[in-house]
Subunit: 340 residues, 2 copies
């Protein structure tokens, strides 16, 4: 008999999450009430921000409490509908969490057309990560042709789109990524102008970035923090912009390290703007209208790293925080009928 398989938070991690922080359990598949839909999860997105929710520390959104299902963006198919706006068989993007079935009243649920783009892209290049790249680069960074844009975690779901959008805007795109395979992908497949392998460079990181950015750095799209931030900030040009999107190097930190001294921000008149894309979801239509055609036309490429089966989600998530994935990390919870 089918059940609703769920991954719930068992306890708050201290430092890196371990398997013991999660519990996999089976619940009955719920019945939709009037106005509700029941959807079956096909794709489940794993993203670094989830680490922040596994915490008692106040964050920018509600935390997950022990006993609750882990949060996640999802692509699902409606299996029962008591809501006139949705029909059985509809594909939808929702925020259903780490579970194989979910109920919703339809609020915030977005219908997907599988003929337009593969369903999974609603969680990657045409979903939250892609919109994060678009918003941060274009609305905060405001690239001008001829400028140099650096992005950390460059092979990831956000970084890969940042660099490709920067290239389309006429900028030099320089990635920072860990390992030769990722860097080869960033310059080869994605077409960045250069990529710095921070693992290989080690203490040479500053010099390697300088060599890759002979005209300095105008925009740094920040995903990681730590040593990479320190190496980049010293090479920013006057009036540079830093869209601050993530601090993945610190998400498992039990004590937050100090940041760079602010004198550089002053002397160089830098802009730093922290942002969370969900504050700007009202602009999703604008984003899809701008970036959708470039994806469909092959001008923006993307890569997915697919893990099969919801039971694998905790392990995949732990790997994500260590940079083990290569491309947008997705869990395939059920077969995707639209995928050949």
């Amino acid at each position: 008999m089918a059940t609703n398989r769920q991954v719930v938070l068992k306890s708050y991690p201290v430092g890196e999450p371990t398997a013991a922080n999660f519990e996999i359990k089976d619940a009955p598949i719920p019945e939709p009430a009037d106005g509700q839909i029941l959807a079956r999860t096909i794709w489940l997105s794993l993203d670094p921000y989830m680490r922040g929710r596994m915490s008692e520390r106040k964050g920018y959104a509600d935390n997950v409490k022990p006993g609750q299902v882990m949060v996640a963006g999802t692509v699902s198919q409606v299996v029962k509908s008591k809501n006139k706006d949705f029909h059985e068989g509809d594909y939808v993007a929702d925020y259903a969490g780490w579970q194989s079935y979910s109920l919703s009243n339809g609020m915030g649920v977005r219908k997907l057309d599988p003929a337009r783009a593969p369903l999974s892209t609603a969680l990657s290049v045409l979903g939250m990560p892609g919109m994060t790249a678009w918003y941060g680069l274009n609305k905060i960074g405001r690239p001008k042709a001829g400028e140099t844009v650096v992005v950390s975690a460059a092979s990831g779901a956000v970084g890969s789109v940042v660099g490709q959008l920067a290239r389309l805007a006429g900028c030099r795109a320089v990635g920072i990524a860990g390992g030769k395979d990722k860097c080869d992908y960033v310059t080869g497949e994605l077409g960045f102008d250069a990529c710095v392998d921070y693992k290989a460079e080690g203490k040479n990181l500053f010099a390697a970035i300088r060599a890759a950015c002979p005209k300095g750095i105008d925009i740094y799209f920040e995903n990681v923090g730590g040593d990479i931030l320190n190496a980049v900030i010293g090479q920013m040009n006057d009036f540079g912009r830093i869209p601050l999107c993530g601090m993945i190097s610190q998400y498992n930190a039990t004590e937050l390290p100090a940041g760079p001294n602010w004198s550089l921000l002053l002397v160089k008149r830098l802009l730093v703007q922290g942002f969370i894309v969900s504050d700007h979801f009202a602009r999703m239509g604008e984003f899809i209208a701008e970036v959708g055609p470039a994806v469909q036309g092959g001008k923006i490429k993307y890569r997915e790293d697919v893990v099969k089966g919801i039971d694998k989600a905790p392990e995949a998530f732990m790997g994500l925080l260590k940079g083990k994935n290569f491309g947008k990390l997705l869990v395939q919870v059920a077969d995707d009928p639209t995928r050949k």
Copy 2:
């Protein structure tokens, strides 16, 4: 016989400047060539940014080299003119440096009308410091009525104007200053809603700021850096703005201390924007049109700390970096004929 008395940089300071870093010397009074004016300095402005110029470290403007006259904004009277735009007796604001006479070709020299405002205000509330306050608060901070604005170095030339402009914009204005006299002045004379004495509070600084800002902090106008920055940033509201104007606590530092961790900037979606007012001097007219009437109408008050005689400039400047002045620090180099 009259001479051109000058203060030149003798050597770069290491840490705090000392008298040995300056040399006072007499040069002949120069003769203007065609197109030039000779002006006699009346008022000389001493400002924290000058410490940054006494350095080999790359800064945002040309450094002063040993043997060169120290830089400063000045108010002078034209004593000889071979430039058709200026006449003997004109009062002008210029950037003539620490000397009692100066030549100029008229570029960037602004005529002053002593009937409109006291001449010295061209170096304080209606000059560079006032415009710094106006630009940073209004163009970066963008205050909305009901918000809370915190400013450090609140009794100083910039901070005093920030808080008064914030009040005029309908905000709660909270100052941070060192010592009871300064705090009394900030809340009494200047009309701030509250002022935190960082010297008296010591390790209690965080709690004292919290008590003064019961609704959190929306704008932090940053002049000082260090412990005060760390105490404030933890209490910023979501979507707060930080115009970054100065780091006076670090100007004498031989090694730059670390800054706050950036996770707070991200989680709270803060904006930090470093700025230097001279980048925006094209807007001086806009500033004077907006703020001039408020000064003339007594809605914006100011205080000057006047030191008499150019020979006292080095000592006064060293005191400025320790917060010894109270009000805009000015050196009166010659009698001001317009002052009763």
